[in-house]
Amino acid sequence: MLNEFGIRVICMALYIVAAPLLGGLLDGLDRKISARMQGRKGPSILQPFYDVAKLTQKQLLSVNRFQLLMVMSYLFFVIMSGVLFFGGFDMLLCFFSLSTAEMFLILASTSTHSPFSTIGTHREMAQMMAYEPMILLTAVGFYLAAGTFQVSDIIEGTTPIILYAPGFFAGFVFVLSIKLRKSPFDLSTTHHAHQEVVKGVTTEMVGVEYALTTVTEWYENIFLFGVIGLFFVTANPLSFIGAIAAVLVVFFLEILIDNTSARVKWQMMLKMAWGVTIVTGGLNLFILELIKR
């Protein structure tokens, strides 16, 4: 019989190995579904992997050597957030580690003194400011509903968190479009060529640098979808099926929003994100505190 420590280690190892594969597949699926929504056939579902493989073969052109090591640190800290999450550690720690990772992305792009990547960097920072409150509030929501920040304890619950924290869930799904770089909030860089100022925050990232950034995004996405799933998981093993279903629904919803909306200005994004945070997160917080009093 495996003890708790063993399970944790397996989960963490599984995340490190499987997250990029799963993330890449989701990315491929995303492109496929998007294409079908737009009446195209779309690339193979494995296309993201081919892209990354090709990127790693390219000659490294760099403006500032500093950038590569910053991108590597970005990757490290994103993996760390995911490892902490799937290892069942403290939610707040995961999110703090994630914002540290973001810092490295910003330092990477800003170290080049490039006009286009600077525009992307500033927008990236504005995006961080827009989603950060809701991300932290989500952790607070879990704490209020489950009485703990420990992921390993949250999944031991008897009722799914979503029943206590629907507002936090809605808010989190809303800012998820910012985090996943989905239109209308794909200001800093986007997956759609038609609405981009060159390539935003990743403008100066070439070859292996861009490959690493892409893989990092996959890691990050799996972590974020993990948080979505956590809203539905209980001690009952069957709840995992519900969690996976919920993740897929949210995933589809994000693609739908992505394909049906045009990019907004940062002012609008900040207003909407903060407004939604206060209304959904704030109200839910207030109600939960009244219940728990």
Binding site: F89, M103, F116, H122, M125, P133
Partner: protein, 637 residues
């Protein structure tokens, strides 16, 4: 012990005479170093001796207490006349009225009031221990930095009369006053030292004697005197209603008997001193003075006096109106000041707003008065003292070197002045980057306010931390980047000694924080609450230490990994319009034009003209409403 403390309080006042009388610049510098070392050594020795004796709470009297009592009364009167003289001279007579009222109130109470229960005057406990170390180490380091800085300052600023001797002696007076303040358990003593810090900061801010400096210094004076009035009222009330002038009796009465008026008045005074909205203006005005005084006011002294008193009062504020007043004020200030910092491009001003914002978080933690929040508050006090002192010194050195303290001019500082940039980066990281001081404090505060429960405070904290992140990140990002020129670094050696000392100290604090928590802060909680439990579990502390190490190790390892990697150096992408380097492009006239990259300041959203006045109004409203409730509640009871 009592002799040691006497020396520690009195010696800085005597030493203040030295720089005042020594006219020769170099000799004065050595005298300041020597005195500074003596004070630092004394402070560390006193703290160490107390620690070695087991860290018990000690209360005692100084030798010749009666004489000190008389001297302090005389000192109060002297300060009053000094304020009257200066305010009449500068045609601000109204301000002297505040001083006259409070001094008369205190003296009347002392001489003609009912006899107060006899108690000791001096107390040492864990909080005192931490404070004397901060004042002794960080404060003195600033003094050492000041010697070199003032030399450079007067070379650059010929228009101001060189009054360095006055400046340096004021710094020593400040040390003495701060030591006195943190040792005193007698409110009248505390009031006296409190007034000295107010007057000292007033004199330091007005150093250059320009119109702006004079106006700002009087702004600082009236706000701090208003706080002093709060203490005077608290003393009078305590003597007449509670027959005591002992701070700890007042706290006990507040906690057990619900006598909240003196606690509320003291808390009010602390809010003015720690520059919370609506009283934030004075700390911003303090920038008019040379940098060492900003560093001193913002980090080791002055504002820390305010939060020191609040942490003391915390147990009497838990779960009542005074606590609510304090934490709402603090939380509101935390959010608004960090928003305001976004719109600033002046390095010192960003630092000033960040101080206010950080103090807001400390004040909020103290106001909540839970174990976890006090734990967080004390951590923040320590980390903030070190990193803010370092940052001010660094910005001062950058200004002396490059001639500008505007963040826009710090583009590519890492290439131009790597040493200065390194210090700046460590300081900024210490202020906000995840595994450092701010994180653990934010964590504890968030947890405490979720448990409190106070939804409003949780919102203040999550939004405040997002805006805090934004303004630090954009500064941090600016320092990196490409810049071809490498200028001459004119920073003096003693300035570097002080700054490197801070940087190493900060890194040690970060790595050693589990020990700090276990051996210093948990005993402190034990003092205050009679029990101490670890706020963050050991597992999480271990993870955090790993994160702290990772933040240094990972980029370094990555550096080694990528060092020998072959790459082809290319120019940045400018749509093909580069003119041969990364700094210029071909404009529409076909000429070569320099590329300017500027940060976002979002002045339409977070500008001072949009936010400052409303924030003062809301802050004042919070204070007034709660003061009415506190006083009304007391009268009703």
């Amino acid at each position: 012990m009592d002799k040691l403390v006497t020396v520690l309080i009195c010696l800085p006042f005597l030493m203040a005479l030295l720089p005042a009388v020594i006219k020769h610049d170099r000799i004065r510098g050595y005298a300041v170093y020597l005195c500074g070392f003596v004070i630092a050594a004394l402070a560390v020795f006193t703290a160490g001796l107390w620690y070695a004796r087991g860290g018990e709470v000690l209360t005692f009297d100084l030798p010749f207490t009666e004489i000190f009592d008389k001297a302090i009364l005389a000192g109060d009167v002297f300060l009053m006349f000094l304020i009257i003289y200066l305010s009449v001279k500068h045609r601000k007579t109204v301000i002297s009225l505040l001083s006259v009222i409070q001094t008369c109130l205190v003296i009347w109470t002392e001489l003609f009031g009912p006899e107060a229960v006899n108690a000791h005057h001096i107390r040492i406990d864990w909080l005192t221990f931490i404070m004397i170390l901060i004042i002794g180490i960080i404060g003195v380091a600033i003094g050492i930095y000041a010697v070199g800085y003032m030399r450079g300052y007067h070379i650059h600023h010929k228009e101001f009369a060189d009054r360095s001797n006055f400046f340096l002696s004021m710094i020593f007076v400040f040390y003495g006053a701060m030591f006195g303040l943190v040792f005193s358990m007698n409110l009248i003593w505390l009031y006296f030292f409190w007034e000295i810090t107010s007057v000292c900061s007033f004199l330091l801010i007005g150093y250059t004697r320009t119109e702006e400096a004079v106006n700002n210094s009087f702004g600082a004076l009236w706000m701090n005197l208003l706080g002093g009035l709060g203490i005077a009222v608290a003393i009078t009330y305590a003597v007449y209603a509670e027959h005591t002038v002992n701070l700890y009796d007042v706290i006990d009465f507040g906690k057990e008997a619900g006598l909240l008026i003196p606690v509320g008045m003291l808390a009010f005074a602390a809010l003015t001193k720690s520059a919370q909205f609506p009283f934030s203006g004075w700390l911003l005005g303090a920038m008019a003075a040379p940098t060492p005084s900003s560093a001193l006011l913002h980090s080791a002294t002055m504002v820390k006096a305010g939060v020191y008193l609040l942490i003391r009062l915390a147990i009497a504020m838990n779960g009542n109106y005074v606590g609510q007043m304090v934490y709402l004020c603090g939380g509101f200030t935390f959010l608004v000041a960090s928003c305001l910092a976004i719109s600033q491009s002046d390095g010192k001003k960003v630092l000033a707003y960040s101080t206010i914002s950080n103090l807001g978080l400390i004040v909020a933690c103290a106001g909540a008065g839970y174990q976890e929040t006090i734990w967080a508050a004390v951590f923040l006090v320590i980390f903030h003292a070190v990193s803010k002192s370092m940052l001010f010194q660094c910005v001062g050195a950058i200004e002396n070197t490059t001639g500008s303290r505007d963040i826009e001019d710090m583009e590519g500082l890492a290439v131009r002045y790597p040493k200065l940039a390194f210090i700046l980066m460590v300081g900024i990281a210490g202020m906000f980057l995840a595994p450092f001081g701010m994180l653990i404090s934010k964590w504890a505060a968030l947890k405490a306010f979720v448990d409190a429960p106070s939804a409003l405070m949780v919102l203040f904290i999550v939004f405040g931390s997002a805006t805090t992140m934004f303004y630090w990140t954009k500064w941090f990002a600016k320092i990196l980047g490409i810049h071809e020129s490498r200028g001459k670094d004119v920073t003096q050696r003693n300035e570097y000694v002080s700054m490197y000392f801070h940087a190493i100290f900060l890194i040690l604090l970060c790595v050693g924080f589990p020990f700090l928590s276990k051996y210093v802060i948990e005993p402190l909680m034990n003092d205050m609450y009679g029990s101490a439990s670890p706020v963050i579990s050991e597992g999480n502390i271990a993870i955090m230490v790993i994160m702290i190490c990772a933040i240094f190790v990972v980029p370094s390892v990555n550096y080694l990994l990528t060092r020998n990697r072959k790459d082809k150096t290319v120019m940045v992408y400018m749509g093909g319009a580069n003119t041969g380097d990364n700094k210029r492009f071909v404009d529409s006239q076909g000429d070569s034009k320099e590329l300017q990259i500027s940060n976002w300041y979002m002045t339409n959203w977070f500008g001072e003209d949009k936010l400052f006045r409303p924030a003062v109004a809301i802050g004042a409203l919070i204070l007034l409403i709660f003061l009415c409730v506190i006083v009304g509640g007391a009268v009703h009871a």
